[in-house]
Amino acid sequence: MQLNGQLALTILMGLFLVGVFAWLTRVENWSGYTPLSSGGSAVSGESGYVSEEKPAGIVRWLTTVDHKDIGLMYGAYGVFAFVVGGLMVILMRTELATPETVLVQPGFYNSLLTSHGITMLFLFGTPIIAAFSNYFIPLIIGADDMAFPRINAIAFWLLPPAALLIWAGFFPIPNLIPAQTAWTMYTPLSAGVGQGNQMNAGVDLMMLGLHLSGVSATMGAINFIATIFTERGEEVTWANLDIFSWTILTQSGLILFAFPLLGSALLMLIADRNLGTTFFAVGEGGGAMLWQHLFWFFGHPEVYILVLPPMGLVSYILPRFAGRRLFGFKFVVYSTLAIGVLSFGVWAHHMFSTGMDPRLRASFMAVSMAIAIPSAVKTFNWITTMWNGNIRLTAPMLYCIGFVSNFIIGGVTGVFLASIPVDLVLHDTYYVVGHFHYIVMGAITFAGMAGIYYWFPLVTGRMYQRSLAKWHFWLWMVGTNITFLAMILLGYGGMPRRYATYLPQFASLHQIATLGAYMLLLGGIIWVWNMVQSYFEGPVVEDGDPWDLEASGLRTVEWDWFDRKLQTKIADGGEEEPVTDGGVVEDESADELDTDE
């Protein structure tokens, strides 16, 4: 590097540090913070402005350690990443409307593919789950906040840099290209060896970003484990911990064992690329298989990291609109824990066709069969909960039912893939793509939507527009099934995955899949519009129980909290939010008097 480049960098860095220092001094001063006033206990003894009220404006969001604010930021972040990843895939599906290359070159297609996968799994999936858990778990389990509020904030703020690094290759920076390794980053391609272009720094940046997101997830997981173990309210015992907290606890355990492993494997790969190590080198090092084992030892738990909390959301929300309690609550809890353990024993079902020892393969198949049972048990519990129930087809309930339906297809296709002979035929075809999208889109995202609609009134104090929500649901339900069923059929036909072009015989199914993707896009636009417009102009919720859960005895603590919040608002003269348009939620719940004074 030339000298004046270094010099400029040094000056910039110095100025930056001085600026940070000056700002920090100001903020801490202005907070009137007296450090030694009371022997330095963590909570008490902090006087001054910051500890009682949040600072105003943007500074509030940059400095907040309140779990609800952090939950909201996770949510906004996840939604943004979802839009980015969604637009990437729309480009890809548009290209795939024709067999030959028209819109994007194959290399760029591979970049989009890589980024789409990583964005959706690490920048949308994990954060959107963290949004719910941060906002609601302290409320539900009766904790004042997370166990480590500051670490909570650090975990969130690691994510924006992670996204910038992961997407860096797409920015117009000279000599930087986006990674084309797919989200699995198999060596030797990802080690940058050979004649390809994957030695580019863009790939390193992507891996650094991924590493950061892993650090963030691990911090969050530690925080949740500590919170659920130690900060529960007195009345919340293991016997009545809610199902969402159980799934988050299990997920956090999985994260704790899986993500550090990914982080280490990534560092090894980065070292191979930049520092001349030979961990994954063919011949002298671990070869191609080492990476695959390390990656999938993380990767399979990762899919359950992503699906367990959404299962928890559905188990939490679905009974509220079925008018009865969750059937076999403890079955769901124990099967959640079972999935948690077993998910570490199945990783090589992603590697059946690598030529590994058939004896090992057989064991992995056996455990993969065993892990299907807890998932199936949950499915039966959801169905039984709805059976003969008093079902109300609100938007969150529709999404819960959609979740169950899609999860069945995704799960059954998964069990087929877990069978070695079937997998040898279907591996690396669109069947696999169909399988996991039924789960990541059809189930995980649907559960996220159920949560968003269910708690929208609680978080925003306003109601969304029901008819738009229904449009959103049906477009997504039909779109998901069109797109991903077409992919399953493509896989049966032998269409390999990760190609920008294909043989003409696959054209019609690909076009159907593209059509479905556009339905998803349309539904997504409706959803974003609904959220934004309702946030500003939706009818104000004045009832602490907008879903009318009290009547069936299904109201839970977070709505109780919301109710108290509304009460204090009325007591304060309600100066907060002007009632714009009549205000009353046009809900089934006419009784607004159920609130205790």
Binding site: I140, T237, R324, F331, L342
Partner: protein, 153 residues
């Protein structure tokens, strides 16, 4: 069998709850035996050890976790008031079962005498089980008022 503490905790009902995890355990065991009996790829100490280890480790892991979680959940059920999940801490929360004034040695006769109904909404509270079997749940306002310290504004 001696009336040990764990016997009280792992009563019939808890064991029924745990069946959900016995099934995957059984599947793993089934394949374990199968692979021991039929070995189309031949033996060899190292590959066999790996193969069996891949089955034994998840088996043991699942068994251990099931034991401890069962103990934690059933133990908490017996030693403190059980609210419905997500409703603990609400001012007028309903109690699903468990002794309200939790000093009573309720575990003595818990479980096996009561209906083994697995669905929620059951009443195993000793006082009300015979008195009012039809009433599915019991509102324990006074208990909740005692145990929860919600500060109403």
């Amino acid at each position: 069998m001696a009336k040990t503490n764990s016997n009280k905790i792992f009563d019939r009902e808890t064991l029924l709850d745990l069946t959900v995890n016995f099934i995957p355990l059984f599947i793993i065991l089934f394949f374990l035996v199968l692979f021991l009996l039929i070995q189309p790829w031949g033996g060899g100490l190292f590959p066999m050890a790996l193969m069996l280890g891949l089955l034994v480790i998840p088996f043991v892991g699942l068994a251990v976790l099931t034991y401890f979680s069962g103990k934690a959940i059933a133990g908490a059920e017996k030693s403190s008031t059980v609210y419905y999940p997500g409703q603990a801490g609400m001012p007028n929360a309903e109690v699903t079962h468990g002794e309200s004034d939790d000093e009573e040695p309720q575990a003595l006769d818990s479980g096996s005498e009561h209906d083994g109904e697995l669905t929620d909404g059951e009443t195993t509270d000793a006082e009300t089980a015979d008195a009012d079997a039809a009433d599915e749940t019991e509102t324990a306002d006074e208990t909740a008022a005692k145990t929860t310290n919600q500060d109403e504004s």
